[in-house]
């Protein structure tokens, strides 16, 4: 690790010697391997070693950045010279510049280790093969499954090292283990597909591999019972945790990004901070330091430790935007309190069970699939193709609708959402099941 730190430090010193007023160098290294199985045979072992060094040079408030993919002296020199040349000819940007020296905080080794993001297990090709095979065998044990797009197991380890002239200095290493499968089911009339996966920082936390196969198969086979959409109009929908995560949480996260706000591309304005935009029960919280969290990090940004937890929405009131140092300056928000993104975000759960939540719905859809890109951040309007199960008289039926459309507005939706109590921390960002009223489905 010291070797990489030294390369960063040398690049920064070189840049300063050549006339930069500030400079920063980051190195990212990763190695990963993956293997997938199709009908009992390995589809191949894939191994990757990736490496990148990025140098940013400042001349006052002029800035340039250059990246290279190897660490030879010639390449790093080229990165320094190019970044500096770019800075020389780029116009002054009043918002640019590193954080002030006196403000810089670096995470300690103990801060990094406390997150427990690294598992040094090195899986052999045979272990990967046997694991993927276990997933596949579970998938094919279900009637109706005709094929898969491959059952895969993978592991990766990545390290980032950073050094800057304002005193920033950090390094951390993290691992991810994943298993995934896309299954195909068919009967005489229909052919359908679904997907299941799990990712964890530690191999021992990964869901049981056979269970991953069973989950994928069950989800897929259930979809064969296709019916035509039996109704349309303004009706309640119940969004599965995954769909609530993608339609509510990640769309909202995009709209409260400082860059989108500054570029006036979002319905959220800087003045929206402190305003009640959504229903009382909407709480969006981000936890940066969740132990073994998929999105966890020991710092909020380069030279900033920042708070461990940030409430972005509290009782429906917008409390924060995501922004980095530069965007913070543009918006007049304190760089030290900001974070450039959400790390492990979630909507806080409600009090009802999913069964209770659904029992309130006489006629509606339990949404399990979504397709499309029909979201306008400037208005919050959305229009997506969805799939899901018919809800009748308070019960989710076995009838699957393959092709329906949902249209609504994110602001209105978040004023008419009730969350169930079933929040699980499975992904980087997570939502409980959500009942949303007042959208149009057809």
């Amino acid at each position: 690790m010291k070797k990489y730190h030294d390369i960063c430090q040398k690049a920064v010193q070189q840049a300063l010697k050549l006339g930069a007023t500030d400079a920063q160098c980051n190195i990212n290294l990763s190695s990963d391997k993956s293997l997938s199985v199709y009908k009992g045979e390995s589809e191949g072992l894939e191994q990757r070693n990736e490496l990148g060094a990025t140098v940013t040079c400042y001349i006052g408030q002029k800035v340039g950045t250059f990246s290279v993919s190897d660490l030879s002296e010639a390449s790093v020199d080229m990165a320094v010279n190019s970044a500096l040349a770019f800075a020389q000819i780029s116009p002054e940007n009043p918002y640019e510049g590193l954080l002030d020296k006196n403000e810089v905080q670096n995470p300690t080794t103990a801060d990094v280790q406390a997150l427990d993001l690294l598992d040094n297990t090195n899986m052999t090709p045979d272990e990967l093969y046997q694991g993927a095979l276990a997933v596949e065998q579970a998938v094919y044990s279900h009637n109706g499954i005709i094929s898969t797009r491959g059952c895969g197991l993978s592991q990766s380890r990545s390290t980032s090292i950073g050094y800057a002239s304002n005193g920033v200095s950090y390094q951390d290493t993290a691992s991810v283990f994943s298993a995934s499968v896309e299954a195909i089911a068919a009967d005489s009339k229909n052919k359908v597909t679904d997907y299941y996966h799990d990712s964890k920082r530690h191999l021992s936390d990964l869901e049981d591999l056979a269970d991953i196969g069973h989950q994928a198969a069950l989800k897929t086979v259930a979809k064969l019972n296709i019916v035509k959409m039996p109704f349309s109009g303004k009706l309640p929908v119940v969004l599965s945790p995954e769909i609530a995560g993608s339609l509510l949480l990640s769309k909202l996260a995009g709209c409260i990004s400082g860059d989108a706000v500054f570029n006036q591309g979002s319905f959220v304005k800087k003045e929206s901070l402190g305003q009640k935009l959504f229903g009382d029960n909407i709480q969006l919280v981000d936890n940066r330091t969740m132990v073994r969290g998929l999105g966890s990090s020991a710092m909020s940004g380069s030279g900033i430790i920042g708070p461990e937890q940030v409430a972005f929405v509290e009782d429906g009131v917008l409390q924060n935007l995501t922004y980095n140092v530069v965007t913070g300056r543009k918006l007049g928000l304190c760089p030290k309190h900001g974070r450039p993104k959400m790390y492990n975000a979630h909507f806080k759960p409600g009090k009802q069970t999913v069964v209770d939540l659904v029992s309130n719905v006489q006629k509606g859809l339990y949404v399990t699939d979504v397709m499309g890109h029909g979201f306008k951040p400037s208005r919050g309007d959305m229009s997506f193709t969805i799939g899901g199960y018919v809800i009748e008289n308070g019960i989710i039926t076995d009838d699957y609708v393959l092709e329906a459309t949902l249209s609504g507005n994110l602001i209105e939706m978040l004023n008419n959402t009730t969350f169930a109590q079933d929040l699980k921390f499975k992904y980087g960002s997570n939502s409980p099941t959500a009942l949303v009223e007042g959208v149009s489905i057809s």
Binding site: D70, S82, M371
Partner: protein, 480 residues
């Protein structure tokens, strides 16, 4: 031509072939692939030039094929030590016993070059380019603001990419190519009288020498005009009710994205190899209305999806997929071609050296018909004329596809009416093109396009002439 990549590796082609043969000794096919890509990019928003960015990424990957098993070792850093290390790592991976295959090609191994071997970027630290680019973006910003008073922000970005690739194949063939691309994106935000903000964007991304774009004022003016027009139309747009009873006219050019999603992906042969595509085992059968002819053609001059060789080193070709409504071809990579006993169509593409090749589209289009746009629209009682689409998506197993219609107008009793907001089009690939009622003669190929599959994005184009679909062929998702 002196080889940039061989020079970096410091070996002759013969030495590289020897090294490749050593690495692939336990295989029956495969290749050693190397690429070096240089990107320069600069952007503007709110009148401020964001930090200029440049990158060189270079590296390689060795792929060993045995039947349906492809072992793969990829590395960043273009040097001989890394290449030799990859060979060593590969020889340690236990190999499946492979059955040799005789690859048949569609394209001509010695066909003409679509790109000159000239690099778009003179030197890596081409500050001359950057100075010009910054000036251009400032001009675009001020032009956009003066063009329409309602413009509150102009975003623009210029990206230049110079890519060199080299393939040393297991069968001894050696291919080098260069792929320069210039991309300019303009996005405008307009504020209406009631305070609503609407965005419009237009971009162009073509293989060419950078100075052409920088000096072509008419070309970037056209981008600004189109972006402003789209945002302006959206300000007056009305909501419509969704339904299955709309006749749909899909506009020419970018409208071909419907074809790309509804047909293109489902005709990629890797899906067929696993028996999961909606058009499985349908070669020779009717999949579209009579008169529908669909091609994927990697040899169109100056088109973004064109290239001399694919990323497995096989020549590109003009591939007929659907002839007069009958499915006649698929797009293959080497592995799917071997498994399905088909020809290699030159569609084995990858985003970077560290990605595995798979069958991908190039320039995918439907041939024009003989009607005029007026002929198509005048017969429509209740319909939509859709000319711009946001992202599209397809489920290749069921054939379900979806688009966001970003520019659409109501058609009522043969006349064009108001613009529509927030509508989407959805349908089933197997059904939609069985209901083509007419195709106009104004064919166009898009100037931009990126296609995503399994996390890899590659440049493509789509194309068609205005195409009229019967009511029921697709459903409209409305917002009213």
């Amino acid at each position: 031509m002196s080889s940039i990549i061989l020079n970096k590796l410091g070996v002759s082609q013969a030495d590289l072939n020897t090294l490749t043969q050593k690495g692939l000794a336990d295989g029956v096919a495969g290749e050693f692939y190397f690429a070096q890509s240089t990107v320069l990019s600069v952007s503007i928003s709110q009148g401020i030039i964001a930090q200029p960015y440049g990158a060189v990424s270079a590296g390689g990957a060795l792929r060993r094929i045995n039947n349906a098993t492809a072992d793969f070792v990829a590395f960043d850093g273009l040097n001989l030590a890394n290449a030799e290390n990859a060979v060593n790592r590969m020889t340690k991976v236990p190999a499946v016993q492979g059955k040799p295959v005789q690859l048949k090609l569609v394209g001509d191994e010695n066909h003409a070059s679509f790109y000159t071997q000239q690099a778009v970027l003179g030197s890596l630290t081409n500050t001359g380019f950057l100075t010009e680019a910054v000036e251009l973006l400032k001009e675009i910003d001020s032009y956009g603001r003066s063009y329409d008073k309602r413009v509150i922000n102009v975003g623009a970005s210029l990206t230049v990419q110079d890519k060199h690739m080299l393939v040393q194949r297991f069968d001894g063939r050696f291919v080098e190519d260069t792929r320069p691309v210039v991309q300019l994106l303009v996005q405008v935000y307009l504020k209406g009288d009631d305070g609503t903000v609407e965005a419009g964007s237009e971009s162009i991304g073509v293989p060419m020498v950078v100075t052409h774009t920088l000096k072509d004022t008419a070309a970037w003016h056209a981008l600004v005009h189109s972006a402003v027009e789209q945002a302006s139309n959206n300000l007056t747009a009305v909501e419509i009710k969704g339904g299955n009873d709309y006749e749909i006219v899909v506009g020419g050019g970018w409208g071909g994205v419907v074809l790309h999603e509804a047909y293109g992906h489902a005709l990629e042969a890797d899906f067929h190899r696993k028996g999961i595509a909606v058009f499985q085992d349908m070669l020779g059968q009717r999949v579209a209305s009579k008169g529908v002819n669909i091609y994927d053609d990697g040899t169109v001059q100056d088109a973004r999806g064109s290239y001399n060789f694919d990323d497995e080193g096989n020549p590109t070709g003009k591939n007929l997929l659907v002839e007069d409504g009958i499915l006649v071809g698929l797009m293959t990579d080497e592995m799917s071609a071997a498994a399905l006993n088909m020809k290699a169509t030159g569609n084995g593409r990858r985003q970077t050296y560290s990605d595995v090749p798979m069958p991908r589209m190039t320039n995918t289009y439907m041939a024009p018909g003989k009607a005029s746009l007026d002929d198509l629209i005048s017969g429509v009682k209740k319909g939509l004329y859709v000319t711009q689409f946001g992202g599209g998506q397809v489920d290749i197993t069921s054939g379900k596809f979806e688009f966001n219609a970003t520019q659409a107008r109501i058609i009522e009793n043969g006349r064009l009416g108001a613009f529509v907001k927030g509508a989407s089009l959805a349908g089933m690939g197997k059904k939609a093109y069985m209901h083509v009622k007419g195709v106009s003669d104004n064919f166009e190929l898009s100037k931009i396009g990126n296609c995503g599959k399994d996390g890899q994005s590659v440049p493509v184009t789509v194309g068609q002439a205005d195409t009229l679909f019967e009511a029921g062929a697709m459903s409209v998702g409305g917002t009213a």
